[in-house]
């Protein structure tokens, strides 16, 4: 078990966003979290990534309680994440963005006087990730000048450059054209294998992506886990299809 949430509750005043959510992520899994707006997905992400402490229950990553631990500490423990709204460093180049992640991973951020250009390990690792995500040709382009799809890739690539053990992707294909969605996912899954990721969790609305790549799907509804099953089982569950998936899918 890499990541485990037990009976997690999260209240904001009188509003209960998560009401006894339990889930477990195992080695090698690609797990999708789905649910309608207001189901508690964003709150669950924030609890799983240590941004919010649960009001009750616990979240453990590699056996350690990570409730409210904070993003930086969790990143150091080995969890990476990308965001629903693309997050980049507009005035940094693609390579600099990836270098920053590599520097953070190697703990070199407080080297005040060493030359960044002269650090071969940082340069090589950053370039390797750029190649993995098909961004090597744009290594010296400013992030703000990239097309939207490449910005999304860069956001995810920088999280991969941390070489995390587990990664949480918040709508990895949002803002990407329909034609490019599967390209992005293929790159992402290929990169995950290459760097030896132990598990991927994604929050996704696009059911083609959810059913096309997941080993397991967790459906949330009104702050509770409605179903936690394989794509085939989810598909066969009329209640989940009606409440969360929205339409019956043809295999």
């Amino acid at each position: 078990m890499i990541l485990e949430a037990r009976e997690v509750r999260k209240r904001f005043g009188a509003y209960v966003a998560l009401d006894g959510v339990s889930l477990a992520i195992r080695e090698g899994e690609f797990v999708s979290i789905i649910g309608p707006n207001g189901a508690g997905k964003s709150t669950l992400i924030n609890v799983l990534t240590g941004v919010l402490a649960p009001s009750a229950g616990s979240v453990r990553f590699k056996g350690q309680d990570i409730g409210g631990i904070g993003t930086v500490a969790l990143t150091r423990l080995g969890m990476g994440r990308s965001f629903q709204l693309v997050q980049i460093f507009p005035e940094l180049t693609v390579l600099e963005t990836l270098q920053a992640a590599v520097i953070s991973r190697l703990g070199k951020g407080t080297r005040f006087f060493s030359s960044l250009r002269g650090d071969r390990q940082v340069q090589a690792d950053a370039l390797e990730v750029a190649e993995l995500f098909g961004l090597a040709g744009k290594a010296y382009a400013l992030a703000r000048t990239l097309p939207q799809g490449d910005k999304k890739l860069l956001d995810v690539a920088s999280a991969f450059a941390l070489r995390p053990e587990i990664i949480l992707l918040d709508e990895p294909t949002s803002g990407v054209s329909t034609a490019d969605k599967h390209v992005v996912m293929e790159i992402l899954v290929g990169a995950a294998k290459r760097i030896g990721l132990r598990a991927i969790i994604q929050v996704e609305h696009d059911m083609d992506i959810v059913f096309g790549y997941s080993h397991r799907i967790i459906a949330l509804h009104q702050g509770k886990v409605l179903a936690d099953a394989t794509p085939a089982q989810i598909q066969a569950d009329a209640r989940v299809v009606d409440m969360v998936v929205g339409r019956r899918r043809t295999p």
Partner: protein
């Protein structure tokens, strides 16, 4: 013209100024070099970390008063001791002040730094026995390289040994800052400036790195302040006043905060422009206000931005 050639020409001109320029203009170079050191540090905070301080006069005054206390009261006259002592005093003050300020950004950070600057200004003004109040304190002529230079008149001392000492400090400070902004630390600062949320997700602790930048900039300000005091021979509380903080922010904007050498150009232009305008027009602040408005509206890249427009953009990373 490529940057190394321009730098070499500027270096030659600066080094030969005492030999070829009238003494008056050479003495004007002294505050330029002192403010140059201050602005290198301030721009680490402004240009690299994206934080605008309106209270850095606090640290300039700490460096300047350190020189006054050491030379007048403690009998320490060696500039090689005054500079690190000023830097240490600034670091001691900057540690808690910075830890508080870097929790805030934008106008809140600026106002907090301004508030701390004004607290120190009031301390300098009201603790008369300790600081000399509004009259300030004398700064005795410091020894340079272990020598008193007693055979030199004040002007000869300033445009000779003191000039070259200041130049050496400025060059050293520039080289160190050049390394800092191009180090892994410098890159982490730029990630925080661009997108703190994303930086945190990459494991870069935003408050910690901002605090480091604040500390470094405070030390630079104090070293600049210690260089600023001996030419006038006196320090007073106006060094810590908020308008002084405003002036150095103006210098950074004038030169261009997005360029490494912009602030140095800004300091040079400010000092000489101020001297020229003051000599012909009593309401010089009116002119400076108009210049500042022009820069903010029409040339946000400052003088360096205007110069850069005249040549093709450099390939990033080349």
């Amino acid at each position: 013209m490529r940057t190394p050639i321009v730098l070499a020409l500027v270096g030659i001109a600066t080094a030969s100024a005492p030999l070829v320029s009238p003494a008056y203009y050479v003495t004007l170079m002294l505050p330029f070099m002192a403010y140059g050191v201050v602005l290198l540090g301030l721009n680490l905070l402004f240009g690299s970390a994206g934080l605008v301080s309106f209270g850095h006069a606090l640290f300039i005054s700490i460096g300047a008063y350190a020189g006054a206390v050491l030379t007048t009261h403690l009998g320490v006259r060696h500039m090689e001791l005054i500079l690190p002592a000023g830097a240490l005093a600034a670091a001691i003050v900057a540690a808690p002040v910075g830890a508080l300020c870097v929790r805030y950004v934008k106008i809140y950070f600026g106002m907090l730094t301004l508030a701390f600057g004004m607290v120190f200004y009031t301390f300098l003004l009201k603790f008369y026995r300790l600081t000399g109040g509004d009259e300030g304190m004398r700064v005795l002529r410091p020894y340079l390289l272990g020598r008193e230079w007693s055979g030199f008149s004040k002007t000869d001392y300033l445009i000779g040994p003191y000039y070259y000492f200041s130049l050496a400090v400025l060059v050293l400070a520039t080289l160190l800052m050049w390394r800092i902004v191009r180090s892994p630390f410098g890159l982490c600062l730029r990630t925080i400036r661009d997108n703190p949320l994303k930086a945190e997700s990459l494991g870069i602790s935003v408050p910690r790195y901002r605090w480091y930048a604040f500390m470094i900039s405070a030390v630079y300000a104090a070293v600049g302040g210690a260089l600023l005091a001996p030419p006038t021979g006196n320090v007073d509380p106006t060094l810590a006043y908020w308008t002084h903080s405003g002036n150095i922010v103006f210098m950074v904007l004038l030169g261009g905060f997005s360029s490494f050498f912009g602030p140095l150009l800004g300091a040079f232009a400010f000092i000489f422009l101020q001297d020229t305008v003051m000599s012909v027009f009593p309401y010089w602040r009116l002119i400076f206000g108009a210049v500042l408005a022009f820069i903010v509206i029409f040339a946000p890249g400052g003088l360096m931005g205007l110069l850069a427009r005249r040549r093709p953009a450099e390939v990033p990373g080349a």
